[in-house]
């Protein structure tokens, strides 16, 4: 199997707090990997290590290696801006900019120096279509994104992310603030996107993990208890703690 991201012996600290403990995980290319586990187990910290968003927190310290396509993303020579272009992120709460729908999707492109009107228009359309939002917003591209529903906003954030053509998309509980219908739409979208992108999704919803992902890693107290094929983890988990968690005995 080909891997897009390889994490080896990752330790993360915030001040003295040891958040991730010796975590190793390989993320297969062009597939969906779910990260499950109770709140506070380090899932979000883990994915925020993959696009170096934790760098923004002054107390963040880490050791271990994180390889993207074989290259160490924490190498001092790595340009963080470049990395974040390759590793996009969709947040828990939809966070479109208070700008027009068009400008939201065009934002990343403009930031990376694309200003040609025709190219922008074409990319915006492609991205919105890929995010299954085009039909709903085609005629209101100049309206503010803040007027969209929560589910539409989240798909807009996905469109915004895929517009810059990342290799990896990190999704931090992307449906937790959405209603069931919007959730279904996002899940359908994830199915569609997995052919072109490597997707890592943090979720609290076990059914969601089984529906969308081929691989799953179970986090507990900052460690990975078990990882592997989703079917295997949910049907015959090796570890008692995994079984307890997925059957709802705690968490």
């Amino acid at each position: 199997m080909e891997y897009r991201i390889e994490v080896e012996n990752l330790n993360v600290y915030f001040d003295e707090l040891h958040i991730l403990k010796d975590v190793s995980l390989k993320i297969p290319k062009n597939a969906v990997t779910s990260l499950i586990g109770p709140s506070g187990c380090g899932k979000s910290t883990f994915i925020r290590t993959l696009n170096r968003m934790n760098d923004l927190i002054s107390t963040f310290k880490m050791d271990g290696t994180v390889l993207l396509d074989g290259g160490d993303i924490y190498n001092p020579k790595v340009d963080v801006v470049d990395l974040r272009k390759k590793v996009g992120m969709v947040f828990q709460k939809p966070n479109p900019f208070p700008k027009s729908i068009f400008d939201n999707v065009a934002y990343g492109l403009r930031v990376h120096g694309i200003n040609d009107k025709d190219i922008l228009a074409q990319k915006v359309e492609e991205s919105l279509k890929a995010a299954a939002l085009w039909d709903e917003v085609e005629n209101i591209l100049e309206k503010s994104a803040m007027g969209l529903s929560g589910g539409q906003q989240q798909r807009l954030c996905i469109a915004r992310t895929i517009a810059v053509e990342p290799e990896v998309i990190l999704m931090d509980e992307p449906c937790s603030a959405l209603d069931p219908i919007s959730t279904t739409k996002i899940e359908d979208l994830i199915h569609k996107l997995k052919n072109d992108f490597t997707i890592i999704i943090v979720t609290h919803n076990m059914q969601q993990a089984t529906r969308v992902s081929k691989h799953t890693a179970f986090f507990l107290h900052g460690e990975i208890v078990e990882s592997g094929l989703t079917d295997k983890i949910f049907i015959e988990p090796e570890d008692k703690r995994t079984e307890d968690y997925i059957t709802g005995r705690f968490g």
Partner: protein
């Protein structure tokens, strides 16, 4: 006798108290503005607005003073806005909670509470004499900039702090640099608050007599360069009234000043409202 008044009655009384407070505030505003307009409007006509003063302002118009006011206020805003917004960005986006930040904030708050006449004295000592700029539009404008700075800074900081942190996160996650994030997302999103701060600072500058008293001179002509002496409206008003030159023209000048401030406030409020509606899709 009951030990307490029934809550229902207390509620009614308090409703009345709050209503009355609101109405009294409104009434005070209307009475002041109304009185100024009542005393001043008879003097205000096209000739008064566009004419030159005659006999030290005893008669004639106030056009040079209107222009003086516009010039010094413009300089104040042009100097204080980038400084104030820049400092606000530094405080909210770059600096953590360290001693320097506390010092800047404390300095700004103190600056805001210093009486304007002291700004005037400082302007005289520093701009007029030490920097040898002389009594001029520039000295007056710079002095007013110092006064407007803390207002603009604190309003901008509050506005930047209040916008959703998730906007900046979303931008950084797309590979934008910090500067791009500030320039393209943070500032546009906090623009309504920043603009309000600029207008408050501008209001402080345009209405100020004491701070320009020692710095701008008292010329009767339209200033034609930054180095010319001038006479903004509040200063003219002060001179007319204290030297007993013409109370009618003092009221007329006051009327023009009040109307200018009203126009600025109404126009910017409308613009800010429209911008906010467009931005937030309502």
């Amino acid at each position: 006798m009951h030990r307490f008044i029934p809550p229902r009655i207390v509620q009614k009384i308090m409703n009345g108290v709050f209503w009355a407070s609101g109405l009294i505030t409104l009434a005070i505003l209307l009475i002041i503005i109304g009185y100024v307009l009542f005393k001043g409007m008879p003097v205000v006509n096209l000739e008064f607005l566009l004419g030159d003063p005659v006999d030290s302002g005893r008669s004639g118009g106030i056009f040079p003073f209107i222009m003086s006011s516009i010039y010094v206020t413009l300089i104040a805003v042009l100097v204080a806005t980038p400084l104030g917004v820049g400092a606000a960005v530094y405080l909210s986006e770059y600096a953590g909670e360290n001693t320097l930040v506390k010092l800047i904030r404390f300095g700004s708050e103190t600056l805001a509470s210093i009486p304007s006449i002291i700004f005037g004295l400082f302007g005289l000592a520093f701009f007029v004499i030490y920097l040898e700029i002389g009594w001029s539009v520039l000295s007056g404008g710079l002095t007013l900039a110092l006064m407007a700075l803390p207002t603009i800074l604190s309003a901008s900081e509050v506005s930047i702090e209040s916008i959703n942190k998730s906007y900046a996160e979303g931008s950084l996650a797309l590979g934008a640099t910090k500067w791009q994030t500030i320039y393209k997302v943070v500032i546009p999103a906090s623009l309504p608050g920043i603009t309000t701060g600029v207008i408050l600072g501008m209001g402080r500058a345009i209405a100020e007599a004491a701070a320009v008293l020692y710095t701008v001179g008292a010329a009767l002509m339209i200033p034609t360069s930054l180095m010319d002496a001038a006479r903004p409206l509040p200063l003219h008003l002060y001179i007319l009234a204290t030297e007993g030159l013409s109370m009618e023209n003092a009221w007329g000048t006051a009327t023009v000043l009040v109307i200018m401030i009203l126009i600025i406030t109404v126009v910017t409020n409308t613009l800010v409202d429209n911008y906010r509606k467009k931005m937030m899709g309502r």
